[in-house]
Amino acid sequence: MKTSDTDTQVSRSDVAERIRLSATSDRPYQLLLRGTALFFGAVIVLFVWSILHTAWPALRAFGFHMVTGKTWAAGNGPYGALPLIIDTLLTTLIALVIAVPVGLASALALLFLIPQKVRSTASSLIELLAAVPSVVYGLWGVWYLIPWFTTTLQPFLAGITGGAWPFSGAPVGFGILLAGVVLSVMILPTIVAISRDVISVVPSELIEGGLSLGATRSQVFTRVVLPSARTGIFGAIALGAGRALGETIAVAMVIGSNPQIPHSLFSSGATLASTIATQFGEATGSTTNALAALALMLMIITASVNAGARVLTRRAARGAQ
């Protein structure tokens, strides 16, 4: 009968052998990791290629007119994306004008003003906004915001300017303004979460220094906290903008799907993403190519905005260390 002692005894040469083995036979593992990374890289290359490749015939046929052309007509063309680009930028701008002040105020309130007891609950409520699928926001916009816009908000805004620009036109509810408002709700959680994180790492010495010099709390917020967190806040805004630029379904449901250069904020419109969503299903031939060209534009815009956001948030994180 063997004793358990001899079972567990390992000689020194065994250990040496094992160390040698572990150094050499780690190869499959490293290859697996590298292989997967490489595979995913290849998928991304294919992804970019699929869009480039499909867009190419349209780009070759229409060239730069695709970006500067003022008329978009599915079917036989012309395929001018200028109205779509303008509408995309305009809806995103409206979303930012609403969501940035509200988001920054919420971040400050969450960090400094809300009672400690309800802070984490309030935080998760804002995060809950991010978990709601975008199609639900679209549905909400159609059923709740359109009636409110037509009966209350749009007549009120038109009253301010006397029915002149930018609040001219019939108060039909759907359109650029509604899309901007729905987008503002959708990007709010992003802006709150990230600006909260960057504001929370502002050194407390700075805040206390400001207070001890006799500044009031609002002065400390606007002159100490926000300026010293500004890089990260710009990063948060850029991430929010990236989301708004590419949001598809909710916008498609509320913007009116009318590719035109808007003459007021009440106009209906169509963004790059919403046009792909609403027209891809029936598209054939040259329209498919033109829609892929829109996808390419959207990819270039959102990728650069996201890359910018990445640079800003990284710089903010490094500055905080």
């Binding site: 978990a131 590419g246 299903g281 996808a295 990819m299």
Partner: protein
């Protein structure tokens, strides 16, 4: 004895300080008032930020619950006609489609994303940095672009819409999100644990399997469940590639139905009965998504507690 008097020269700094103190004292009342008003405004704006959430939840409950019933959840849809406009049937196959498409996408995405997360957490090379940048930019790209991708590489070669194309789009969408979350979780594991494992003679692969992944599990699970919740709610890529189905579609090589897409379709329907039912579909979808996001919180909170 002579008396000398020392006369201090006027101190500009002192004078300036007194000036500042005087000004500060004079404006104190006004500044406090402004500050109070400002703080109240901040809290009000925060409450405004919660308003849409309240409104969406209210809408879902008010309009959704009335259209949900047991038959609605497990029967097939039917096409309303001019004779019977209320014959909308159920959404059973849409629930099934959503679960199959998202489940298969997770099956493909999770192992791949974990390996990429491991690779990113271990590598400090240029290649790793580049891949990390790509992964981060991918997480912010509009999902509809992946619809175009799946259309080109799955729908066109297979000559037809299919659930599989949706699976491909969602999987590519999920990988960067999970990879990012798991890289963070893997990096959070103390280096001493890894070194202890290596010092015992274990290989890197064994250390990853036996030490790193278990230690990082709460973070990884959170990432997986959150990305799964996000994938279930995605509509745009599915709109381009999965087509539709009005029967139980167990074969992902054919067209399928999904809750998110059905919500979109119903909301634009010509029949008021279907437009109202869109809220029932949306509520079902939101409940599924919320179960996932809440359980991710519970699981990670519980696992973190157990560790202590």
């Amino acid at each position: 004895m002579s008396k000398t008097t020392l006369e201090l020269p006027p101190d500009p700094i002192l004078e300036r300080r007194e000036e500042i103190q005087k000004r500060a004292a004079q404006t104190l009342g006004r500044r406090t008032l402004v500050s109070k008003a400002f703080l109240v405004m901040l809290v009000l704006m925060f409450l405004v930020a919660l308003l849409p959430l309240g409104s969406v939840i209210f809408a879902l409950l008010q309009k959704g619950i009335s259209s949900i019933s047991w038959p609605f959840l497990h029967t097939l849809p039917s096409q309303p006609s001019l004779i019977d406009q209320n014959a909308i049937g159920g959404i059973g196959n849409a629930i099934e489609g959503t679960l199959i498409i998202a489940g298969l996408a997770a099956l493909i995405a999770v192992p791949m994303a974990l390996l990429i997360g491991l690779y990113l957490s271990e590598s400090s090379s240029r290649v790793g940095d580049f891949l990390r940048a790509i992964v981060e930019i991918m997480t912010g790209l509009p999902s509809i672009l992946l619809g175009v991708f799946a259309y080109e590489y799955v729908v066109v070669p297979m000559k037809g819409y299919s659930g599989l194309a949706g699976v491909v789009a969602l999987a590519v969408l999920m990988v960067p999100v999970i990879a990012k979350a798991s890289e963070l979780a893997f990096r959070g594991v103390p280096t001493t644990l890894r070194e202890a494992g290596l010092a015992l003679g274990a290989r890197n692969s064994r250390v990853s399997r036996g030490v790193i992944i278990p230690a990082a599990l709460p973070g990884v699970i959170t990432g997986v469940l959150l990305s799964l919740a996000r994938a279930m709610g995605e509509t745009a890529p599915l709109l381009l590639v999965i087509g539709t189905s009005i029967s139980w579609a167990w074969n992902p090589l054919h067209g399928m139905s999904a809750l998110s897409l059905l919500t979109y379709d119903y909301s634009g329907s010509q029949y008021p009965s279907q437009r109202a039912a869109a809220w029932g579909v949306a509520l079902t979808l939101v409940v599924l998504v919320m179960i996932l996001s809440l359980s991710s919180r519970l699981i990670s909170a519980r696992m973190r507690k157990e560790r202590r």
